[in-house]
């Protein structure tokens, strides 16, 4: 049995006075302190990061982390575009399954705001196919193509998408670590400028800096000493074609469906048991598709369901989604996102989510997506 016993995240945002490894160091020290663990009690580290090699000519990060920790243990970097954090967590869980009585740390981080938006967009495009890059498609462009197809197929409008952003900004206003802490109105979303039609600035997650870390362990002595612990019921990863055009359906992420079906099967719980979920809302359309692909909402009904606000904190709904603010308002430092999602579920299940605490949450799910759906990680936690 693997348990998460601690979580620390830096603030997300434009953190110009901090480098990538300043952020990593803050997250590492923060989570160690919280669990009262010494560096030498960590048996392995898994690091999620996408862009340091592309933007900063900065690779071999495991060695850099060894320098921070002053230890000589195995350290691995996982890269799966925006699912780098989720992939690192999944690898860490696999490592624990194979090794009894170990403590591992999973850290995710990204430094994005040192660069112009065009440079960051170009870096992110590295996760798209060569043909997509050559056509001038960006990630906002690929999700815009999904959105355009979905809206036309099911007869929805841009207003249906806007509900996602309004909800997640409200949640972000309750999270002191979020990039954006400002509530927004539907009209503001609809009036914001386009980045890739039909998606607008306020349909999109921002370019952020940040780092998040969790401690995961299967060491009974360590678990017993911790104030908080949450059971990792399952963590499943699935892949698909890198190119959107090669998929069977443009408005569906099959990798999410496969990972979710496996994760629920392994966890031996049902969709209706989940009280809190963090889903990968890199763009508003992505949350609607995620809710459908995860099996929470029927295919094609997502555009209507989101307007009912049942997944908003305080609605009294059975499943509250993206209490952290999601990628939209909490921010999207790519490698950190997957860890922050799992961390937010940890906070909710241990009653530490403060003014956004969902009452008596017992089971939570995190869904982390890479690229336009080429990788998906679904993790289920429970108490």
């Amino acid at each position: 049995m693997n348990y998460i016993t601690g979580y620390y995240t830096t603030r997300f945002g434009e953190l110009w006075d901090k480098s990538l490894f300043d952020l990593v160091e803050e997250a590492i020290n923060g989570v160690l302190k919280q669990n009262k663990l010494q560096n030498k009690q960590i048996d392995a580290v898994f690091f999620g990061n996408m862009l340091a090699g592309v933007l900063e000519n900065n690779l071999h990060s495991p060695s850099k982390i060894a320098e921070i920790l002053k230890i000589n243990i195995p350290i691995y970097r996982a890269e799966a575009a925006c699912a780098s954090g989720g992939a690192a967590f999944n690898l860490a869980k696999t490592y624990l399954d194979a090794n009894p009585n170990k403590n591992v740390m999973v850290v995710g981080s990204e430094k994005m705001t040192d660069y112009s938006p065009e440079e960051a967009v170009t870096g992110l495009s590295a996760a798209a196919s060569g043909e997509e890059q050559e056509a001038g498609l960006t990630f906002s462009g690929l999700y815009a193509m999904m959105a355009n197809y979905y809206l036309e197929k099911y007869n929805y409008t841009e207003k249906n998408l806007a509900y996602v952003s309004v909800k997640n900004h409200y949640h972000g206003s309750l999270n002191e670590k979020a990039h954006f802490r400002k509530k927004i109105l539907l009209e503001e979303v609809l009036k914001s400028p386009y980045i890739a039609y039909p998606l607008k600035v306020l349909d999109s997650s921002p370019i952020s800096d940040g780092a998040s870390a969790v401690i995961m362990t299967n060491n009974r002595d360590v678990i017993k000493k911790q104030k908080y612990s949450v059971l990792v019921l399952s963590s499943e990863i699935a892949t698909d074609t890198i190119s959107l055009k090669s998929r069977k359906h443009i408005d569906e992420i099959i990798a999410t469906k496969i990972a979710a079906d496996k994760a629920f099967k392994v966890a031996q719980i049902n969709r209706k048991d989940i009280n809190v979920a963090e889903v990968h809302d890199c763009f508003s359309i992505a949350e609607i598709l995620a809710m459908e692909d995860l099996g929470f909402w029927e295919k094609g009904l997502g555009g209507k369901k989101i307007t009912e606000d049942q997944t908003m904190f305080g609605s009294g709904g059975n499943l509250i989604v993206n209490t952290s603010g999601g990628l939209k308002a909490s921010g999207h430092p790519v490698g950190a996102t997957g860890i922050k999602q799992i961390g937010e579920i940890f906070l909710q299940l241990t009653g530490q989510a403060e003014n956004r605490q969902v009452k008596s949450a017992k089971y939570g799910l995190a869904q982390n997506v890479g690229g336009s759906g080429g990788t998906a990680v679904v993790t289920i936690l429970g108490i």
Partner: protein, 99 residues
């Protein structure tokens, strides 16, 4: 990074999908592009299903916003796809125009 060799390798494949008709499956218009496409923005990109059922991405040229419709008929054409690299090699590729 784009190198002349990469451009040469890719361009060998272009003729196979040149002058072919198809329909727009979905589309977008990019307002915030990456560095290499900044000077062309905003520009429309379409995903086309050719009559052969093969799917191809490309920018829509020689058309207006009114031509950007799911199901609209287009034909593939040869166009410059990005500014010349520092090596001076111009990259050509597939774009589409309305029929």
């Amino acid at each position: 990074m784009i190198s002349p060799i990469k451009i040469w390798r890719r361009q060998k494949e272009i003729r196979k999908v040149l002058g072919l008709k198809g329909k727009i499956l979905t589309w977008t218009k990019i307002f915030t592009p990456g560095s290499d496409f900044k000077k062309y923005a905003p520009y429309p990109v379409v995903l086309v299903e050719l009559e052969s059922k093969e799917k191809v991405y490309g920018q829509l040229v020689d058309g207006d916003d009114i031509d950007l419709k799911i199901g609209a008929e287009v034909i593939s054409v040869l166009r410059k796809v990005r500014a010349a690299s520092d090596d001076g090699v111009i990259a050509y590729g597939i774009k589409f125009k309305p029929l």
